[in-house]
C-alpha cells in the first residue's frame, strides 16, 4: 500500500498493528522540529507548500521508492502550516521483507523528498514573526546543481 498526504494540522496518532505475513521490518521515521533554526530560538516552523504539486511529487516519489526497494508499504504524511517545536513535520512508515532495504529506502526517500517536493520552511520566533530559512539539504544531495544562497 502506498499512501501520501499533505496535512495542515497535527498528524493523526500512529497506530501499531500486526503487519502483513511477509513483513519482517517496519520503520517509522519522524522528522521533528528542533528548538533552533539558523541558531535562533524558535517556537515553530512554518511549512509553505505548492498545493497540488507537492502532493503529486510526493506520490510519485513514494511509488518510485516502493518499486526501487521492493517495499510492501510506504506511507508518508507531511504537515504544512505551523508545526510547534518538538512535534513531527513528517512521518514515513516503511514496511519490507528485511530491514536492510527498509533502511536504505528511508535514507533515499527523505533525501529525495528534500530535493524535489515543493515544500519550504520558515522560522517562527516566540513572538510569532516569520523569518526565511536558508537551510537547503538539496544542495548537499545534488552538488552537480550549483545553488547560491540568498543572504539570511
Amino acid at each position: 500500500m502506498i499512501r501520501v498526504a499533505v496535512l495542515d494540522g497535527p498528524l493523526p496518532v500512529f497506530e501499531e498493528r500486526p503487519a502483513p505475513g511477509g513483513c519482517g521490518s517496519e520503520i517509522v521515521f519522524h522528522g521533528r522540529v528542533r528548538d533552533t533554526e539558523k541558531q535562533r530560538p524558535i517556537a515553530a516552523l512554518f511549512y509553505e507548500h505548492y498545493e497540488g504539486m507537492a502532493q503529486r511529487e510526493l506520490q510519485r516519489l513514494a511509488e518510485q521508492t516502493a518499486e526501487r526497494f521492493a517495499l510492501l508499504d510506504l506511507i508518508c504524511l507531511h504537515r504544512v502550516g505551523d508545526v510547534p517545536v518538538g512535534e513531527s513535520s513528517v512521518r514515513v512508515v516503511l514496511r519490507s521483507k528485511h530491514r536492510a532495504e527498509g533502511i536504505e529506502a528511508l535514507a533515499w526517500f527523505v533525501r529525495e523528498l528534500k530535493r524535489r517536493v515543493p515544500i519550504w520552511k520558515w522560522g517562527v520566533t516566540p513572538t510569532g514573526e516569520r523569518f526565511p530559512s536558508t537551510h537547503c539539504e538539496g544542495c548537499a544531495a545534488a552538488e552537480s546543481e550549483h545553488h547560491s544562497h540568498p543572504p539570511g
Binding site: Y47, H49, Y50, K114, P118, I119, W120, H146
Partner: protein, 85 residues
Amino acid sequence: MEPTTIRVRVRCFSHLRYELGTDAFDLELPAGSTLGQASERILERAAGKLEGLPFRMALNGEFSEASATLSAGDEVALIPPVQGG
C-alpha cells in the same frame, strides 16, 4: 485570427515570494513564448531582486524544461530549493 499575446499566471514561493512581495501575478507574453522566455521576463520585472536566487521552473505543477511552449492560462511557478522534511 490568433491572439498575439497570451496571459499566464506566475506563482512565487519561499525566498522568491519574499523578495517579490507577492504570492502570484499575471504575466503577458507573446503567443508561442517558452517557459525560459517567461523566466527571463520575470527576472527583468524583478529588477535585480532575484539576483543570485536559484530556482527551477514548473509548468502547471510539473517540473519542466525551459523549452516548453506556453499556452494561455498556464500556471508557471518559480521553485527555489525545497526544504521539506
